[in-house]
Amino acid sequence: MLSFIIRRLLIIIPMALLVVTVTWGLIRLAPGNFYSDEKKLPPAIEENIRKKYGLDKPWYQQYGIMMFNIVKLDFGDSLKHQGETVNDIVRRHLPYSATIGFFAYLVALIVGLTAGIIAALRQNSRFDYGSMATAMLGLSVPGFVLGPILVLIFALGLYWLPPARWGGISNLILPVLTLSAVYMAYIARLTRAGMLEVMGSDYIRTARAKGLDEKTVLLKHALRGGIIPVVSFTGPALAGLLAGTVVVEKIFAIPGLGNIFIQSVFNRDEPLILGIVAFLSILIMIFNLVVDISYGFLDPRIRYE
């Protein structure tokens, strides 16, 4: 088990470097440059800029220097946010995204699991159809339609909640709800499908045959197997959520990392793009590792050597 974890942690490093390399190649593939959106520069000034940022060197040298610094976890200075390092920017904007992402996933998990379990236990009941239709609606309404409609009702119509910006807990409610809708729907559907499959399996029949009461069968036996699909979904979903979601941050004017990333892509702010991509890919791989480890606890048939 320990050697499995160490091996997986070690693979993360080359994989992240590979992701950074491909991203760097993609940025360099696109025509233009980070200073090219401004008016045409005199050749002498352009030459100076290129020299300052090391763009006059051959591409393999530029790549080598960049990778050497990234291995030391130094992503350099942002090209557009003056005088700020990439690490500072990520550190400053991450907490906003992480807070909203965490609470959104928590809400989604609580509501989704509950609805999914009840729907599976009462298959083909009114609750089953109703909750699954609601879940489908959650999957079909884009966030940038749901968000403004919630604002329209609860902020501009009823005056219950503030419409946007960062502040107290009341500011969190609408963005968290908007963000959690899709995940809630996914989790409810995954839970229902997983529980239905498990409830028909042999080991549940065995547990019932042993004379266990229905509550123990459900909570100690069925739930562990039934939520495995939800656990595998949680890894990448949570990583993406914590690192920011552009739509919600834009609608509610929250200074999170998702917005910063989109801006950096528009600005061709290469160090910032690479920093955020590297951070995100490492986060996803770590979460996937945690998910793989937790399989072992949920399903005793799964063992890691």
């Binding site: 994989m15 590979l18 992701v19 491909v22 991203t23 993609l26 940025i27 593939l29 696109a30 025509p31 233009g32 239709a133 489908m136 609606l137 999957l139 079909s140 309404v141 884009p142 940038f144 339609v145 403004p148 409609i149 604002v151 329209l152 501009l156 239905l196 552009v246 739509v247 834009k250 609608i251 990333f261 989109i262 892509v265 793009i273 991509v277 995100l280 890919s281 996803i284 791989m285």
Partner: protein, 323 residues
């Protein structure tokens, strides 16, 4: 003899699946809504022009130049109201639906072609090549797709637009249509970022099929690898492919809407449901109908597509057949 043929026909997988699909009320609901939507989008703009004279970019003449408020709330004349330039939103929603539905179809086709070929080749060849191809998929997964879309749009935009995209857009909108060819480029770019899961699904199918007797028989009769993959293996994996393709349609439509929301997607004078809704967000406080009608139309379409996809999965997937 004729009777035997009849019996074989009845027992076929596709006919069985079709029957099961028709028994699923929600899937039938989805199909009906989609059919109505497709017909409305095709003939709707012409009907509106014929009955009321409005088109997607027609600004009524009674609006004076310099008149500040041109947004009118829904009325008999404008069932969905007008936008801030005074244009009829119903006409724009129907016109935009053409682009939105085309995104769904063309991007899904592109992702289908790339994903099925990639997954089938990786699964059939196996070994090192399989490993390499699937690691490439893993890496592309880790790169935010929005970055890939932007790079694709800027590398292949303007004068570098591939000939096939120009040819396609000329087929649809007439020659020399720069704006339309950029929209088609967007369709292709969206397809090129959404084939990854399809490749994984197909690879899994091919892995379980390739050691069966019919593949051995094909090899023995001297069929080439290409022939085995695309004439023998892929048709046998078609069920999951169709199911997954149906679920790709709403997901690429959502992605297009998201890109339009960021200002990267469909540009004026063209519109899609996503870009109409994004325009509507600006005026949500005073003219909410400008967001609600395009948004609800889009949500209804995605809702139907998702139900149809679910129904197809239940009908085609032998695993769930026992329920």
């Amino acid at each position: 003899m004729a009777e035997n043929v009849e019996i074989i026909k009845r027992a076929s997988l596709w006919r069985d699946a079709w029957k099961r699909l028709l028994r699923n009320k929600l899937a039938v609901f989805g199909m009906v809504v989609l059919a109505v939507m497709v017909v409305a989008v095709i003939i709707g703009p012409a009907i509106i022009r014929w009955t009321t004279g409005f088109t997607a970019d027609y600004v009524p003449s009674q609006i004076e130049q310099g008149d500040l408020v041109r947004s009118f709330s829904p009325s008999l004349q404008h069932p969905m109201g007008t936008d801030d330039a005074g244009r009829d939103i119903l006409a724009r929603v129907l016109q935009g639906g053409r682009i939105s539905l085309m995104v769904g179809i063309i991007s899904t086709l592109v992702s289908l072609i790339v994903g099925v070929s990639w997954g089938a080749i990786a699964g059939y060849l196996g070994g090192r090549i399989d490993n390499l191809m699937m690691r490439i998929v893993d890496i592309i997964y880790a790169i935010p797709y929005i970055l890939i879309v932007i790079v694709l749009l800027s590398v292949f935009g303007g004068p570098n637009t591939p000939a096939i995209i120009i040819w396609l857009s000329e087929k649809f909108g007439g020659a020399g249509n720069q704006g339309l060819s950029q929209i088609f480029l967007l369709f292709f770019a969206l397809g090129l970022v959404s084939w990854l899961t399809m490749a994984r699904v197909v690879r899994g199918q091919i892995l379980s099929l390739k050691n069966q007797e019919f593949v051995l028989a094909a090899k023995a009769t001297g069929v080439s690898s290409f022939g085995i993959i695309f004439r023998h293996l892929v048709p046998n994996a078609l069920g999951p492919v169709i199911v997954y393709a149906t679920l790709t349609v709403p997901s690429v439509m959502l992605t297009e809407a998201f890109l339009s929301f960021l200002g990267l997607g469909v540009q004026a004078p063209y519109a899609s449901w996503g870009s109409l809704a994004a325009d509507g967000i600006k005026n949500i406080q005073i003219f909410p109908w400008q967001l609600i009608f395009p948004g609800v139309t889009m949500a209804l379409t995605l809702f139907s597509l998702n139900f149809l996809g679910d129904g197809l999965r239940d009908a085609l997937d032998p695993q769930t057949r026992k329920f």
